[in-house]
Structure formats: structure tokens, C-alpha cells
Symmetry: C2
Subunit: 265 residues, 2 copies
């Protein structure tokens, strides 16, 4: 039906998963009473949902503190998701090479509900930061990877994505209107790369390129991040080539990619 209501979610499963999201959003262990008002569910119902999620190990309940936090089953499942549904495994080699070649922090991201979902990363120096970065979400309208992806979205999906942006002025260079953003997106399409010139964080700039599949759909983006005090704008722009090249390689790899055969006894 054309009921533009919020047909929020389907069935018990949907409602329960919404609660899971809610708990995850807190970013810290939460108590029943903190969730209740935000959930908009009757006490008894929320209670049952939390119980179920906890029994299912989707949430971990801390007896002593009486708090709920996302459970380890999610980590297990996500490993699977990351390994088979993300661009990360396919892009691994390209990421390694690019990281070695230019020695800067690089990110691999995908678009997820209008937001940027980072799926892999290489740090300039440090050993890792793992998951600490993979799985993280960020805004699309003010990051290099975000804009690179938005720029190549078909109009309907773009409109939808834009409507979900919050347009918070993180810095005084942040684009804060759909119009300004659309202008930039047009430029990005022409150049083939996106710039985030301190739009998200002061002192941080990055250059990003979209990863386009054979049929022209955006399937992700890759970016190099630098600090303005160690890297000039020209130096950053000089990276456009390598970044676009890497994006193209990942795209090619993704088109070829077939799942490695598995078999278990």
C-alpha cells in the first residue's frame, strides 16, 4: 500500500532486531530502564525481547551490573559477513600495495543505508586497530569515501541517501546543504576522485576514488588520509592517480572474483 507510515519492520524478528540496534547504539552497556523509553515498547515486551536476545547470545547480560551489551555471537557472524559479503577480501592485495607505496593511512568503505561503513584499513605505521576500525560507520556527506560513493549513485538512491544525511557542520568547511553537496558530487564525477579538505575534521584531508563495478554501480570507495601539517594540498592531489588506479584494480578484481571452493569433510 502507499501508506507512507513507518512500516518500521517486519514481525517479531524485525522488532527484536530493532532493539538490538538500539542497544548497540548506546556504545556502552545499558540498563533496562535506559532502553525502555527509547524503544517505545511496552515494558513486558521489551523485557521479553532482551531476554531472547541475551539467550541467543546476541546480547550479553552482565549479571552484576544488570546491563546489556552486544554479544559475541555478532562478532562470529560478522567475521563471516566481512569475509564473504564485503569488498575487503577481494581488495586485500591492492590495499597492501597501495599502503606500501604511499605509506599513508588508507580506508576501504562501502555505502550502508546512506552512511559510510568502513570495511578495511591500513595504518601508516601501527600494527593494527582491527575491528576498531572495520565495522565503524561514519557520515557520507563530509568524508572522501562517502562523497565518492554518493557521486555515482543513481538519482533515486541518491535522493534517498541525501535525505538521510544530517548535515552537521563538523568544521567550517563542511558542506551543509544538499545543494552544495550536489555541486561537489558533480565535480567529483568529472574528476573521478573526491576530496575531503578538512570537511569532517580540522587538520585532516583525504582523497578518495569510487570503486565501480562493470555495470557502473558503485560498490565501494577507497581513500588516502593525510594531515594538513605533514602534507600539502598539492601532494595530496598528486595521489589522485594511484588512488584511482587502486580503485580500478579493486573493481576489476571484484568483477572476476568467484568464491574459492570450499568443502568440509
Amino acid at each position: 500500500m502507499t501508506t507512507p507510515q513507518r512500516e518500521t519492520s517486519d514481525g517479531t524478528v524485525g522488532r527484536t532486531l530493532a532493539v538490538l540496534d538500539l542497544v548497540a547504539e548506546f556504545g556502552r552497556p545499558v540498563r533496562f530502564a535506559e532502553i525502555l523509553p527509547k524503544a517505545g515498547l511496552p515494558k513486558a515486551t521489551l523485557y521479553r525481547f532482551l531476554q531472547t536476545l541475551a539467550r541467543q547470545d546476541m546480547l550479553a547480560f552482565d549479571d552484576s551490573r544488570q546491563t546489556y551489551a552486544p554479544g559475541m555471537r555478532l562478532v562470529r557472524l560478522a567475521h563471516s559477513a566481512w569475509a564473504q559479503s564485503s569488498l575487503a577480501p577481494v581488495a586485500q592485495d591492492v590495499m597492501d600495495h597501495l599502503a606500501r607505496d604511499i605509506g599513508q593511512t588508507i580506508h576501504l568503505a562501502q555505502l550502508d543505508n546512506g552512511a559510510v561503513l568502513y570495511v578495511d584499513k591500513r595504518n601508516a605505521r601501527q600494527p593494527v586497530e582491527m575491528f576498531a576500525q572495520s565495522g565503524k560507520v561514519g557520515p557520507a556527506y563530509c568524508t572522501g569515501v562517502g562523497k565518492a560513493m554518493l557521486a555515482h549513485l543513481p538519482e533515486d538512491r541518491l535522493a534517498q541517501a541525501i535525505s538521510r544525511q544530517s548535515f552537521h557542520a563538523h568544521t567550517d568547511r563542511t558542506l551543509t546543504t544538499p545543494a552544495a553537496l550536489r555541486d561537489d558530487l558533480a565535480r567529483i564525477r568529472e574528476r573521478g576522485y573526491a576530496l575531503d579538505d578538512e570537511e569532517h575534521e580540522v587538520g585532516i584531508a583525504c582523497i578518495a576514488a569510487p570503486i565501480l563495478s562493470g555495470n557502473g554501480r558503485v560498490i565501494g570507495a577507497i581513500s588516502v588520509t593525510t594531515t594538513t601539517d605533514t602534507t600539502s594540498r598539492d601532494q595530496l592531489l598528486a595521489l589522485a592517480g594511484p588512488v584511482k588506479e587502486a580503485a580500478a584494480q579493486i573493481a576489476a578484481a571484484a568483477d572476476t572474483w568467484r568464491f574459492p571452493e570450499h568443502k568440509q569433510a
Copy 2:
């Protein structure tokens, strides 16, 4: 009702999540027909479950190939889980130090349903392997971290965990009986560290220490992995000190750990 059928799991949510696990276990995109026999559910029911999961972005459905794979929402959620329910954030500094000091691959793991769940890792050299390692599960009976944790489980939970082990002889040194394992666990308790001397993979040895909370419960384990052709047994044993030390530090950090305060406008 008094139909003591298979009350396998709770409600629709439980049954749906079981299907999610099932899909994840395949380790590759799967088609409806492949899932059906393993699910033990009526066609229509399985179909609805998959639909729901896909709509919820817990599964990604590939239109062209008609396959289901774990979805990106899991990656988002897992980030949250990892950041707040795992030992990883607390152990970060200790991991970094240990990695720097001994320059070998180190793992941080937790026990999850009788299996080892790796939650963090530092590679000897390479930039990363990310998620590729975090979220991975492995056997408990033949890995250093696994045995270190089993050794400190209270009897009831140990018995339960042991009953879940598959005791596959990965190498000719693998302990393949509960009795042999229990012997080793006793030794581990005495020494304070566990050894995996090519029990899981030929040419790979590791030394691991349990991470015990203030009240004596195992909350995880940490290990150093080496290859037998670059490191002698004595050299490996010499790492017992640093590993135990690191474990103790993580334990201490975990006991102190309070969640950093958050607030959003």
C-alpha cells in the same frame, strides 16, 4: 502444549537466527535449495525467514545469482560488540607492547560456546589482516589459548565444553581424548601457561596464558605463535614470562575498566 517436540530454541527469533547461523556457516553465498535440507524447516517457512533476514540487512541477497550471504548490518553490530563486550579494547596497550617487545604474532581470544573466538591480533610484520582474524573461531582442545582457558573453567562448565570438542587429530601430536586433554589441563594450571606444540598445525607452536579476573574466572587468553623452524622449543618457553606478565596486566586492566563516559547532544 505438552508436545515435547524439539523446543530447540526460543520463538520465531531464535529459529530465524538459527537460519542466519546456518547461512554464515557455509562460508560462501548459498542458494535457497542448499539451505533447505540443512535447515529442517518447511519450504515456506524457511523462505519467509530468509526474506525477513534479507529485508533486515542481516543477510544480503544477490539478485543475479540468487544467493544469500551474511549482511553488512552484522559488521556494524559487531563493531559495537567488539568495542564494548570483548577484551580487545582493554587489552589494546598491552597487546601493542607485547607485540613490539617480542616481535611475533600474538593473539587475544575468548571462550565462546566451547570454541575459541579470536578477538584481536598483532602480526609480526604485515600491516594487518583485520577482521580476517578477529571474529574467527577455532578449536579449543588443540590451541594454546583454548587450553589455557579450558584449564581454568569450573568443572561443570569444563565438562560441558569438553563434550563439545570434536577431537579431530589435526596432527600426530593432537590430544584426541578427554583424558589426555584433562592431563594437559592439570599441567597447565600448575605452570600457569599452556603450550601448543604442533598440536593444531605442523610447524606451528605457541605458548599461551589465561587471563583471570579478580574473582578467578577465565575471561580470555593471550598467546604468542611461532614457527618451529625459526624458534626452538627453549626459545618459546623463554616467552612464558612475558606472556604471563601480559596476561596479568590485561586482567588488571579489565578489573579497573569502566566504560568511558559518553554523551551525545
